[in-house]
Assembly symmetry: C2
Homo-oligomer: 246 residues x 2
DNA sequence: TGTACATCAGTGAACGCGCGTTCACTGATGTAC
DNA sequence: TGTACATCAGTGAACGCGCGTTCACTGATGTAC
């Protein structure tokens, strides 16, 4: 009945099977940690292990597909959260919204998070296809800071720190060069102190999630969400997303 | 000839063998990532795999020994760095010294770092013997902040942040309770904002190391040491380790 | 100092398991005439 | 609409490998008399 040429039965079943394999594989990652076994996945699906080779040419290709899906899922969550923030000039609010969206995704899919932010998987090297998706969440956060900086925020934070040279001043030459390259790549147009502060905040954000999800804080916090929220606010303040100018 | 009763040949050889097994096991972690195989270790030592059972009752016990050694090594490095800081009132200097010592250890022994701060090992649950050693580096850093706070530093940082409620004020009740428990446990005697800032700095410090060592920053920075140093200085400033009071 | 016995490190074979991948095959779905 | 052929999902057996762990054993080191 549909006017447009419908995909064949085979094509539809194939797409469903591919998705199902990935779903079951993720369940296995959940139970077995980072060990992913094609045979175990096939067993769970009531198939013979060699049948999976109709869908993925090797175990590593399946892993790569899972990793790309994970990055894309996280990236999408971040992008949607920022797009849903109506007050575009409320940069701190946008930072909080995106930050919370990232944590919500990670808490909902801890094994996918471990896949992309945990320790490297033995014997597996991520192919280049993964770097684009990997940057999506970073780009969202960087854009918030870039727009805030363009609106006159983010500057002259930290200037009161005396004694020790302020981190913002007197950068090591190699560090300055790195920061230039990074702000160029992200097209943020921010100065070195702002770029550095953004990267520090990014480090803290993912550090906080890794601590929580990898169980390094077991029995330390009872309310991780509240602690994470405090940290996001601290980052927003540190990044100078709040004040009108300085 | 020695006056004191010398350990028997057997006892000496046994101690050497135990150390050698751990050394070879670490080498394997380096090559194979987180997969540790008793048989591979035995092979490398020119022994039969069952011989290792004279030294460790199971693979997991060997892993536990490696993990405890790693925590102790990192803890010792941190303690020595702080002890070597002559100017006890230069809290920022002590923070930098300990921070750099932690990174130096991690860079020198990336696989031991991954063992204790990477994603959990499939099928392995760390026994309670590991929690004491795990706290050693944290305790060293906490003591610096505690002494700085006692000397009148660390207060009133961040007070200028407007708009959004300052992270320091109006803590969620659950978070306040958590912070009380943590400062009690670490015996820092610090107020909530200081405790929270310390934990945030801790998160950033280990987050930075994980980013660097797990390769999430490949081709992003050329000089990791300079970037890490900047971050340590930023933390010292954020923690208020610098100013005389406020 | 010398002998008899106990301790223990290391061997080699085996058990039972799981893994990724290959290959020739059957039988169902899709396509061209 | 019906038949002939091509495509492709899934099977089942096999290859060759590695793993942790147990067990009866040999032979060297240590100890008690």
């Amino acid at each position: 009945m549909p006017e447009t040429k419908a995909p064949t039965l085979r094509a539809r079943v194939r797409a469903e099977m591919t998705a199902e394999i990935k779903r079951v594989a993720l369940e296995h990652l959940a139970v077995d940690g980072s060990a992913l076994s094609l045979r175990a996945v096939a067993r769970d699906m009531g198939m013979v292990s060699s049948a999976l080779y109709r869908y993925f040419p090797s175990r590593d290709e399946l892993l790569t597909a899972l990793i790309i899906d994970a990055y894309d899922g996280l990236g999408l969550a971040a992008e949607e959260a920022d797009a849903a923030s109506a007050a575009r000039e409320d940069f701190a609010g946008r930072w909080l919204a995106v930050g919370h969206a990232i944590r919500a995704w990670a808490v909902a899919k801890p094994h996918e998070y471990a896949l992309i932010y945990g320790s490297p998987i033995p014997g597996y090297a991520a192919p280049v296809d993964t770097v684009g998706p990997a940057n999506r969440p970073v780009v969202v956060l960087a854009r918030i800071v870039a727009e805030a900086a363009a609106a006159g925020r983010c500057s002259a934070v930290d200037a009161s720190a005396g004694g020790l040279p302020s981190p913002a001043d007197s950068l090591a030459p190699a560090l300055a060069a790195d920061l230039t390259q990074i702000s160029d790549f992200l097209a943020t147009g921010t100065d070195h102190p702002t770029t550095a502060r953004f990267l520090a905040a990014l480090t803290q954000l993912f550090g906080a999630l890794s601590f929580e999800l990898f169980g390094r804080l077991n029995n330390v916090f009872s309310d991780y969400a509240a602690w994470y929220d405090w940290q996001l606010r601290s980052m927003a303040s540190y990044l100078g997303l709040l004040e009108e100018s300085a």
